[in-house]
């Protein structure tokens, strides 16, 4: 890696904009003449729609359009597709998901009708005047319960509510492993349903140009090309090149904004019908009931060990709740994504993953920060700690005994890990954890009526997201250089990190680069933001594009300097003839390249170049974390008092941004461990956690300082040597924190506890373990 800006903890170039309120978000943007769209949603979890009376609404002040599912059917709009490809046993059932429900609603919040009016208030007023006649039906609410006999049926074509069966692994080898095991641990685990809850809710502005029959969708999204692919042909029935998607600044996505949503279809269709821009901004509470949810995987996980504690086999039998429909990647998360990380950092010779996907009368479930990897890591770390506790192994020694230490390592599922500092991270975190001093800290906590626990967990991320990425480097007339990428920043700081990469390689000032992203008109192709992919997928494409630029520049420089290309040395932005003072710098070459008279024969004008990175390689970020908690015995409240991460993300382009990403992910993981939970009423299917008043999100006071120590084991799988850092915190924190809570409660005999470890759950666990009366500390 070149010396220079790469590796420097530069502050974000975006900071001034974001921190002074100058960010431009979709809802902030002017759209002259725009109408406002409001969605009327189902109040029922499951009901037949007997009729929709819109007459009164249509005549209300300011109303320009009222649409129902019948209108969309008449207009020939297709259902929202599910592009996930999963090798299931038998078919994957993908029921039609229309932008507006037709004869039946299948979850609270499902769009039933929409009103477009001159003002948002008028649209809301009119929506209240729409009368929908419902015939409520029994609701299937829980994934595992939905798969049991006798559950209410969500879809006729999915008997028993089964969306798919998925199996991966060598069953015979796993059975053999369990058969000869000295120890077997088995745990029932729930990775609860959560909501990503980005601060900026979804929003969109749709436009249609009748002259060219083309669409323009400005949205708060993460993946303009993929959303366009799902929207243009399958739903609108037009070629992709007649649909432009672009995003201004996006206030957090975390996966949730990767998907095509019904509201995107509605604003475009309404704009086409009305000939005016149509805008929609979700309410905060609309997001809880009508965006997507995440995780929601429950079942049994088992680990087989020999007498010395070596892992022999791993088996997971899980039910995945997909919600009422297959969202874009919904079926892929609990199958493909989990598979990549099964066994995590450990050498497990035999692994079997069985998953049944369930339809329920709940909001669809899809990818959220980590998507499958949090689930794989949580089950593994819970099993390893339970094995240590039950079989008498030291938990760190048991981990160390089973870590992958020789690379490349081929996992039981055939995934080849090229590199990793697993043992190094574990050693480092153990040293930082000061386990020897823990007994004293525990005693000190006990003196204050608190139970202290220490949790230590390893994690493996399998980072890539969608394979392949595109980048271009374009020299503007004003001397600036545009870096166009198919990846997308939602606040991660790409304007800074990609400029660092380019500045070092092109020898141009950091300030001379502008990032171009998230616009199908300006970016040829790409896979957006998701899966911790930007730097290794997009950064590699950028490096390839830069190499192409330099190739062109070298040819032109040789021509202008009348030297052989190989005789030129490039350094600090300048090509020079070796051993002479003759040379030419890159900006001069960019200017010269515009005039064909300056060019060698056969060379097209300009230095601009683009490149595709065809790689589908996964990177393997990893680490080991330690947490300490104090549990209030009287109330069950948990205070996370200490946290330390030791992580490997390969080379770091900007350690400050990496640290920030890890810390943000940790906060979300801490939220999942201790407080976040989407709750539907088990009978009615009503959403009980419909706003932050009932859905507990972590606050600053819930999060202690989160130091991150980096160990950098570069990967050869990409030219930057980087590994994806974006999701790791949300993967590592849930097991680390939960193991600390379980360690605190172990003296009371508590061994079963699911996330989130809320005060009431902990009180109940203590209460039940002590046979009815809360016990003082042991």
């Amino acid at each position: 890696m070149p010396e220079g800006l790469s590796g420097q903890p530069l502050r974000r170039r975006e900071d001034a904009r974001f921190l002074t309120g100058a960010g431009r978000y979709t809802a902030d943007l002017e759209a002259p003449g725009a109408l406002h769209l409001h969605v009327l949603r189902s109040p029922h979890a499951h009901a037949r729609v007997l009729g929709i009376e819109t007459g009164a609404a249509r005549t209300m002040p300011g109303v320009r359009l009222v649409l129902t599912g019948v209108d969309l059917a008449d207009a020939g709009l297709g259902p929202l597709p599910c592009p996930a490809v999963v090798r299931t046993i038998g078919p994957l059932v993908v029921p039609d998901r229309h932008a507006l429900a037709r004869d039946r609603v299948r979850h609270v919040g499902e769009p039933v009708a929409c009103v477009v009016a001159e003002t948002s208030a008028e649209a809301r007023d009119a929506a209240e005047a729409i009368e929908v006649s419902y015939d409520p039906l029994p609701a299937a609410v829980d994934g595992r319960a939905a798969l049991a006999p006798g559950a209410p049926q969500v879809w006729m074509q999915a008997p028993g509510n089964q969306a798919f069966r998925f199996e991966r692994g060598d069953r015979a080898a796993v059975e053999a492993g369990f058969a000869c095991a000295a120890h077997v641990v088995s745990l029932d685990l729930v990775n609860q349903r959560v909501h990503a809850a980005p601060i900026e809710p979804r929003a969109a502005i749709g436009r249609h140009d009748a002259a060219t029959d083309s669409f323009d969708l400005l949205l708060s999204g993460q993946s303009v090309h993929n959303i366009r692919e799902q929207l243009a042909g399958p739903v609108l029935g037009v070629p992709a090149d007649r649909v432009r998607l672009s995003c201004p600044d996006v206030g957090g996505g975390f996966g949730l904004k990767n998907f095509l949503f019904p509201e995107h279809v509605l604003v475009l269709h309404a704009a086409r019908l009305l000939g005016r821009p149509v805008r929609w901004v979700a309410d905060g509470s609309e997001e809880f009931q009508a965006a997507v949810h995440a995780r929601d995987l429950q079942g049994t996980a088992r680990l087989a060990l020999d007498a010395e504690g070596r892992f022999l086999a791993l088996h997971a039998d899980m039910a995945a709740d997909l919600g009422a429909y297959c969202s874009a990647f919904g079926p892929g998360v609990p199958t493909n994504s989990i598979s990549n990380a099964m066994g995590t950092v450990y050498a497990v010779p035999a692994v079997l993953l069985e998953v049944r996907g369930a339809f329920t009368n709940t909001l669809p479930v899809d990818a959220y920060r980590g998507a499958g990897k949090p689930e794989a890591n949580y089950m593994m770390e819970r099993l390893v700690d339970a094995a240590a506790r039950r079989c008498g192994f030291d938990p760190v020694a048991l981990r160390r005994r089973n870590l992958v230490t020789a690379f490349p390592h081929r996992s039981a599922f055939g995934i080849t890990m090229d590199s990793g500092g697993f043992a190094e991270a574990l050693d480092a975190v153990e040293a930082l954890a000061d386990r020897a001093g823990f007994a004293a800290r525990r005693a000190e906590s006990e003196a204050r009526g608190k139970l202290r626990g220490l949790g230590l967990a390893c994690f493996l991320e399998t980072a890539r997201g969608a394979p392949g990425e595109w980048a271009a480097v374009r020299f503007a007339d004003n001397g600036l250089v545009d870096l166009a990428l198919g990846t997308q920043s939602n606040g991660q700081g790409h304007e800074t990190s990609f400029a660092q990469v380019a500045a070092d390689r092109l020898g141009l000032p950091f300030e001379s680069f502008r990032l171009v992203q998230a616009d199908t008109a300006l970016v040829a192709r790409g896979n957006g933001h998701g899966g911790a992919r930007s730097l290794h997928m997009g950064g590699t494409a950028l490096v390839l594009a830069i190499e192409a630029v330099l190739g062109r520049a070298r040819r032109l420089a040789a021509h202008l300097l009348q030297a052989a290309p190989d005789d030129l040395a490039f350094a600090a932005g300048r090509f020079a003839v070796a051993g002479t003072e003759r040379g030419v710098d890159l900006p001069a070459l960019a200017r010269a390249a515009r005039d064909p008279a300056n060019l060698p024969d056969g060379m097209a004008p300009g230095l601009d170049a683009e490149a595709d990175n065809p790689s589908d390689l996964i990177t393997f970020p990893s680490g080991a974390h330690v947490a300490e908690v104090e549990v209030d015995l009287d109330t069950g409240e948990v205070a996370l008092v200490r946290y330390q991460a030791v992580d490997d993300y390969g080379n770091l382009v900007n350690p400050l941004l990496t640290e920030g990403q890890v810390q943000g992910g940790l906060a979300q993981g801490i939220g999942q461990a201790l407080m976040e939970r989407v709750v539907y009423d088990p009978d009615s299917g009503q959403l009980l956690s419909a706003s932050p008043m009932d859905y507990a999100l972590p606050r600053a006071s819930d999060v202690p300082p989160l130091p991150v120590r980096f160990i950098s084991v570069p990967t050869a799988s990409n030219p930057l040597g980087v590994k994806g850092a974006g999701q790791a915190g949300a993967i590592a924190a849930p097991p680390t924190v939960m193991l600390a809570v379980l360690d605190a409660l172990a003296p009371l005999g508590v061994s079963a506890l699911d996330m989130p470890a809320t005060p009431e759950r902990i009180w109940k666990a203590i209460h039940e373990a002590s046979g009815g009366g809360a016990r003082p500390p042991a």
Partner: protein, 264 residues
């Protein structure tokens, strides 16, 4: 939010006139409950009567053995009031743990007590100290004022003007917050006054209520241990996704013990 008209009177008399003229008019003080309800279209007043322009509703004064807090006095003012801090430190402390800094800068004591949210803080102090609720028409003893969830003795058009707190010998407050909303899951206010001991529970039930078993125990022996072992019955307590009635009942004992510790 639906459209509504807006009035900002500068006297109690004018405010009462406005509120009496229309049963669908609503008074707004700090707006910490009403504004979210309006935003969610859960409330549709014809007009709002903004009390913030009425100087006589604001402020804290000490007269003899009582502290009078004007209805429009904001939580932050209670928290910082030298009179409250010296006479009833438990009340000043309570103000410091209401909501967050934004809420404390907007919310008012009168708004909280008039609304009588079961998860509010102030009602427990009002009942626990045997305070008097002063309206434009009359004086209402706290024992008669609170009538269950969001229900009080206030009549339509009647305006809460001030609350008079007798200064106790000692008082204390402890609560556990709801993990999501940070409203009260279960709280206990204890006070020892010349009229006896009071133990009032908030957050756990549909409204504030006195815990008489604990009152008797503390009358006999004012110490945290005296209440720690007294169990609150769970029947009738609130139950939701954050805490069952049984859990809240358990918390009542814990918070009572902490409140007595706080009182000293």
């Amino acid at each position: 939010m639906y459209d509504f008209d807006y009035h900002k009177p500068s006297s109690v008399a004018d405010a009462v006139k406005l509120l009496s003229a229309d049963p669908d008019a609503r008074a707004i003080s700090g707006g910490q409950t009403l504004l979210p309800a309006l935003k969610h279209r859960l409330n549709r007043p014809t007009y709002l009567v903004d009390l913030s322009g009425i100087a006589e509703l604001r402020g804290v004064k000490r007269e003899g053995d009582k502290i009078t807090v004007g209805a429009m006095t904001r939580h932050i003012e209670v928290q910082n009031s030298p009179e409250v801090k010296s006479a009833i430190p438990a009340l000043a402390y309570m103000a410091t743990v209401i909501g967050d800094i934004q809420v404390r800068n907007r919310g008012t004591m009168g708004g909280s007590v008039a609304n009588n949210d079961p998860a509010a803080d102030y009602p427990s102090a009002v009942l626990g100290l045997g305070a008097t609720v002063v309206t434009d028409k009359r004086r209402i003893a706290a024992d008669d004022y609170f009538q269950g969830m969001f229900t009080t003795a206030l009549e339509p058009g009647e305006l809460l003007v001030a609350i008079e707190f007798p200064i106790p010998e000692k008082a204390g407050y402890a609560k556990m917050r709801n993990p999501a909303s940070r409203y009260v899951m279960a709280g206990v206010f204890v006070a020892k006054t010349k009229d006896g001991v009071r133990v009032v529970v908030n957050g756990a039930g549909p409204g504030v209520f006195r815990q008489t078993d604990m009152e008797q125990a503390l009358s006999a022996n004012w110490s945290p241990d005296a209440v720690a072992g007294i169990k609150q019955a769970s029947e009738g307590l609130n139950s939701d996704i954050h805490g069952s009635a049984e859990y809240r009942a358990h918390l009542v004992s814990v918070m009572a013990k902490r409140a007595v510790t706080d009182a000293g």
